[in-house]
Amino acid sequence: MRLVLVGISHHRTPVELREQVALTGGQAAALSGELSGAGGEAVCLSTCNRTELYVVGEDAEARALAALAAETHAHAYRLGDEAAALHLFRVAAGLDSLVPGEGEILGQVRAAYEAGAPGPLLDRLFRQALHAGKKVRAQTAIQESPASVSAAAAALAQQVFGELAGRRILVVGAGKVSEQAARNLISRGAAIGFVANRSLDHGAELARRLGAEALPLERIGEELARADVVVSSTSASGFVLGAADVAAALPARKGRPLLLIDLAVPRDLDPAIHSLDDCYLYDIDDLESVVAETMAARRGEAERAEAIVLAEAEEFRAWQASLDVVPAIASLRARAEEIRARELAKARTRLSASELEAVDSITAQILNKLLHLPTVRMKEAAAASDGLVYADAVRHLFGLGEEQE
């Protein structure tokens, strides 16, 4: 049975078209059920970057393509069997993502699998894809380096302080950028202490969402003596924090490091702060340089990840090929077992119960040992693409499928 993948992704399809075929969880589950039909299999994977339909069954490609909006057909890719499997493994490993190695996709593949309508083939395919994704993340450092300015700021904070739990974080500004940076710090164990903003109402709103306290902008100098990390992103035209403000707080800090992250343009924090002892100020350009460097590291790790994915794809191909010989192997074993049972029945009258038990055991062992090597060889032949030839030969030699006396 052939596996078909029809899909679109961020590589070739603009967002205007991607959003036309994007599916919610419920829609993906319903479409999977519809595409699987009678005796078929289907799993629909839909994220903001891709919509992919994995289908097994009669007219799989035509049915999958029909499920996508006509405008997207020119952008859609169609892959079969090995290529489709390799593609899914790369997707699960994050190698096909906008940011190589991003971790969210693995959860999305799992959700698609659980909501889909997989049969034997797609079940094995998706389980192996999830395994490949986990293996890549465990055996490479592809996911470790930050991929955004906010994540880089949080990673820098860890570089200075280690565990962020218990550190005092001061967020200046109540916009989206401040919130994103704060959330990245929270995801690494930090708790936000204060949100300072010119408009106290906006500041209080963000503080509530982050579980912090609101602080008037004029009072950030007081908090500097206690803060460990300051993240600033306001729309102010001048500096919100000058070097003199920070210098005034230094005696009370007694040499404790202070990391200041300036995500605003124009800048909020006086660059002269960086020259003060134990103060480390990073602006948006500095952080972008850090991200560019870590992205290069991710690409290096991606090469190792590709090797892992290729090995997994080869394993899947061998398994899929072995399916060609499974019916022949099953028939051969059934025929042998049938002959054994018939001969045992004939001997039943001539043997005692204990003798019959011994003969039953011996003949079962002989049969297993005799059929073990042909079974292994047929599976090996299947992996090397000769499976069908061997299966036909076995059927012919042993008369499988023919009427028996």
Binding site: Q159, V160, G255, R256, D277, Y280, S289, V290, A297
Partner: protein, 261 residues
């Protein structure tokens, strides 16, 4: 027997030093190989010390070469306490090459041989040499931590784009660990010096230049502890002071061979 243990131990330390270099370039399996090299090397050196102790007539590490052997064992042993943590692996790059070189030097100068004899009382040597060397080992590791602190601090100040590419301990952890190591090592040095001074008083000897330098070293580290824990000195200033103390430790180690033994 000692030879059979020395060479594999040196080989393991050498392997660990080389693997730490590999870890600095490509973090991963090389770091694990290095950690195992340190563990195996240290166990083999421990066995060597046991063999030396069994075969010796008195304290086996009473010579300069012997004390160097014991010093290496203490340095690696203290490093092993937290050096296996993946974030501290890079510190091995400073510790293990030094350990391998000093271990080899100890061997060349006869510090790893068996059957050593000592004219001095065992208890005095165990306490004096053992405690002073344990303190020196602690100061050596504190210096390595401080050097790593200054290197990382410099990278942060220079805003190096590759700052996140190398896995090293956080700045705060380096600062804290160096201070704690000195805090633990200083009492050992104090006791070692006290034992030495007591014996000096009994024998009616006089304080030589090396003893004066040892007292100066004690003064530097005592100042460090007072400033760090009394006045909350941290960061760069504390790291420089720890390195200044270590410079005196190096002078003492070199001076020991010429004056003390």
């Amino acid at each position: 027997m000692a030879e059979l243990l020395f060479w594999p131990a040196l080989l393991a330390y050498g392997e660990a030093a080389a693997a730490y270099l590999g870890e600095a370039r490509h973090p991963g399996w090389a770091g694990r190989a290095a950690t195992w090299g340190v563990r195996i090397g240290w166990l083999l050196q421990t066995a060597l010390l046991v063999v030396q102790a069994v075969s010796a007539d008195g304290f086996p590490w009473g010579s300069w070469a012997g004390s160097l052997n014991l010093f290496v064992w203490l340095v690696v042993g203290i490093y092993l306490v937290w050096g296996c943590n993946s974030r501290f692996r890079l510190l091995g790059l400073a510790v293990l090459p030094l350990a391998a070189v000093l271990f080899a030097l100890s061997h060349v100068t006869g510090g790893t041989s068996t059957g050593a004899a000592s004219t001095l009382p065992n208890l005095f040597l165990v306490l004096h040499v053992g405690l002073v060397l344990a303190a020196f080992a602690g100061f050596t590791l504190a210096a390595a931590l401080s050097a790593l602190y200054l290197w990382q601090e410099r990278r942060l100040k220079r805003r190096e784009p590759g700052i996140l590419k190398v896995t090293i301990p956080p700045l705060s952890a380096l600062d804290e660990l160096a201070a704690r190591t000195i805090l633990v090592a200083l009492p050992a040095l104090s006791l070692g010096i006290a034992v030495g001074l007591l014996r000096l008083r009994d024998r009616g000897g006089h304080v030589d230049a090396l003893m004066a330098a040892t007292l100066l070293t004690w003064g530097v580290y005592a100042t460090f502890v007072v400033l760090r824990y009394g006045l909350e000195w941290r960061g760069r200033r504390a790291a420089y002071l720890a390195l200044a103390g270590f410079a005196l430790v190096v002078v003492l180690q070199l001076g020991l061979s010429a004056v003390h033994f």
